[in-house]
Amino acid sequence: MSVVDRQEWDVVVVGAGGAGLRAAIEARERGARTAVICKSLFGKAHTVMAEGGIAAAMANANEHDNWQVHFRDTMRGGKFLNQWRMAELHAQEAPDRVWELETWGALFDRTKDGRISQRNFGGHEYPRLAHVGDRTGLELIRTLQQKIVALQQQDFEETGDYESRLKVFQECTVTRILKNGDRVCGVFAYERETGRFFVLQAPSVVVATGGIGKSFKVTSNSWEYTGDGHALALLAGAQLLNMEFVQFHPTGMVWPPSVKGILVTESVRGDGGVLRNSDGKRFMFDYVPDVFKEKYAESEEEADRWYEDPEHNRRPPELLPRDEVARAINSEVKAGRGSPHGGVFLDVSTRMPAEVIRRRLPSMYHQFKELADVDITAEAMEVGPTCHYVMGGIAVDSDTAAARGVPGLFAAGEVAGGMHGSNRLGGNSLSDLLVFGRRAGWHAAEHAQGLAGQRPPVADAQVDTAAAEALRPFSAETEREGVAGPSENPYTLHQELQQTMNDLVGIIRREGEMEQALHRLGELRVRARRAGVEGHRQFNPGWHLALDLRNMLLVSECVARAALERTESRGGHTREDHPTMDRAWRNVNLLCTLADPTGGLAVTDPGRGQIRLSRESTDPIRPDLLALFEKEELVKYLAEEELYE
């Protein structure tokens, strides 16, 4: 086996989106030498796609807002399945995280008195989203990127080397988290550009790789979202929490086919856009669930008044949490009242003057004009649900972001589970990245410092195994395994996987279909072992995809298995055969672990799965937090015994 380059760092952050960069900044500022590894170029992470804003109860737009209200909204949105301590920390710390960005150079839109402007968003009681037009994610990523550069400039002044304490390894992929006994001791990675392998040895690894959307056909997610972090953590012995909860954003583009799934920001609705079916009816009024009845307008007149006078009117039902809106659109389309290309109409053109639309929704205007040749100031958009976000993720400790059961492993952002419960509110993801990115970086640095002098070494055998695994696609003829057959095209396998997940474990789920999905995933897993690639290791996308398939298959199985197990409908998990929310499931977490904990290669038998599922009860919600809610509301979610404890 060839000699693999090794480097020594204190903290390795996998992923350079909002959470990863925030973690890296924190770790570096706390004195840890920090390396960041990302699959794309520095500054291109999927965070740039976030449009709406960062939810933080700064009370700039409405003085009644505070962290308690934000906490309440978050718990309601997540249908009380949230890891409540995370929701609490998130609501408390988000304002500081936003203000801190300003000191690093961020320029948010302003209020009249010069503070950060905040906008309305689905599920938030008050205008709460700090934003920059509809490109907030870009502002966030650029600010963090520039803060990292600022730190590197400081290091350059002191040491003469920009990368002495904080280095970004861009266009590199991690394929394994390396362990020494129980402990994390580094990562195994390759450079996409050259195909060269390398090992970063570090006692702390922060996983911040984002989501899993590329396992679905219609998704707003980019190619990077192959569930790498979820899979790496699983393979390293961590548990994945509540993977059945996948958010389908209600408004993705449905036409043309090549852009199907690309997001249409929720701000379109927050700023006055309405949903109509092919009869021209604002159908959302028919879909307000009982738990939300008092909070939403019953007539179009009241809903329209709300934009001007939110104090005395209830909000329009277009601003219900995302899961509700997505299901409503799905029902309208199924009932034959959809738009020509299988969505519904989202209209701003009749609601605002053209010039206001262009000013407030510039990138949406741009996006539809350039990609669909639709002028949103003159005609309605066609939209439909698109896979957007996974609420489930690595099970972590709320305060430290440490992965449960794997010392040295931390997780933050979309890849971590718990924070959003069964459904995430818009705007809570960017604040989540900042709050828990910082916490992960902080505790990863502390963990590394606590191990000074007794760092776990990386065993050569582990490195060799990881290298062999990564090279498999080049020798796809699997005579060694005794499996005959021609090599498989990784692109074809990926398409079949996406189709399977989209059709069988999509927005509305049924028992039989999910069983079928598990069976197909098993077959795909076996075929994926024969996924072969041409050419060499230098920037070879076929090879990269072949390696990512392992992760997508693992994560897809988690989603399917957990979805099959949870026999209720809640948030981002809707069962046609169990259409209601069941209070008995309220305090149940589903945990996925690897069935073969030795971390061996994928199981060859399509009948058997790679994932083992277990249940646990959630921690009871702290009484002072429960007291923030009215009793009548809690009755709808919590079981009797939880209420009277």
Binding site: T103, G114, R115, L138, V149, S363, N540
Partner: protein, 256 residues
């Protein structure tokens, strides 16, 4: 839905050499050039290297040259071409090639590091920043930049003169200096850093001959030349070539 067969020429190779390779490939309604490149990967050339990410014109990864013009592949609709036309796709030609359509854009990251960062104002803590919308408008326009580096690629200062790369930051990073110089709370001046002067002295603003190709290729429609580069040139004139301003600053310094 209609589909047709389009003829493509795609540059394939690496730093040791390469050339344009011919392909005939299916094109469907509403597709963009990146869709076609992906179809080539999936059906004819699985190891065709291409950099892409969001596929919605927001990340600035899939920069290339299409029929000789620097563009984002994801934002170039196939419908703008004649069906009989052969479409040529090459990597960015101002940067070293890595493989196929992927280039080494390290030049840009190096230049990013050379621009001194935002200097927070002393005495203002987090949450105490107050800025008027009209004061942040200008810098916000520049912060729309998705760093696709098309402006850096098209700028003849470095595209046609490799030797200028050391001295010239390029439109994107001169615009970054403008963004910071126009930031209402940037305290660089108080810390002794004159951004207008460094733009001219350290970052090569004088190389720019305002021929506006950067503005022409910008997929975000940022008025790089009119709103960033020319105002920076004028600010440099204030510092360096305006005797009245120079005299004024001397007098004011003496009296204060």
């Amino acid at each position: 839905m209609t589909s047709y067969e389009a003829r493509f020429k795609v540059w394939r190779g690496d730093v040791r050499g390469g050339g344009l390779e011919d392909f005939t490939v299916e094109v469907n309604d509403g597709e963009v050039v990146l869709d076609i490149v992906h179809r080539l990967q999936a059906t004819q050339a699985p190891d065709l290297a291409v950099r892409w990410n969001c596929k919605a014109g927001k990340c600035g990864s899939c920069s290339a040259e299409i029929n000789g013009r620097p563009r984002l592949m994801c934002m170039t609709r196939m419908s703008v071409f004649d069906r009989a036309e052969t479409i040529t796709v090459t990597p960015l030609r101002a940067f070293p090639v890595v493989r196929d359509l992927v280039t080494d854009v390290g030049f840009n990251y190096q230049k990013a590091r050379e621009v001194p960062a935002f200097v927070p104002p002393a005495g203002l803590g987090p949450g105490q920043y107050r800025m008027a919308q009209e004061d942040v408008d200008r810098s916000q326009e520049f912060r729309k930049c998705i760093e696709c580096f098309l402006c850096q690629d098209t700028c003849h200062v470095v595209r046609d003169h490799e030797e200028n790369k050391a001295a010239f930051a390029g439109p994107r990073f001169l615009m970054r200096i403008a963004e910071l110089d126009m930031h209402p709370l940037d305290a660089a001046a108080e810390s002794g850093l004159d951004r207008g002067r460094t733009a001219q002295d350290d970052h090569g603003l004088g190389y720019c001959n305002i021929t506006k190709c950067c503005t022409e290729v910008c997929p975000e429609g940022i008025h790089i030349t009119d709103n960033a580069l020319i105002p920076m040139k004028e600010r440099a004139v204030d510092r360096k070539y305006d005797p009245l301003v120079w005299l004024g600053s001397k007098i004011r310094r003496r009296s204060s």
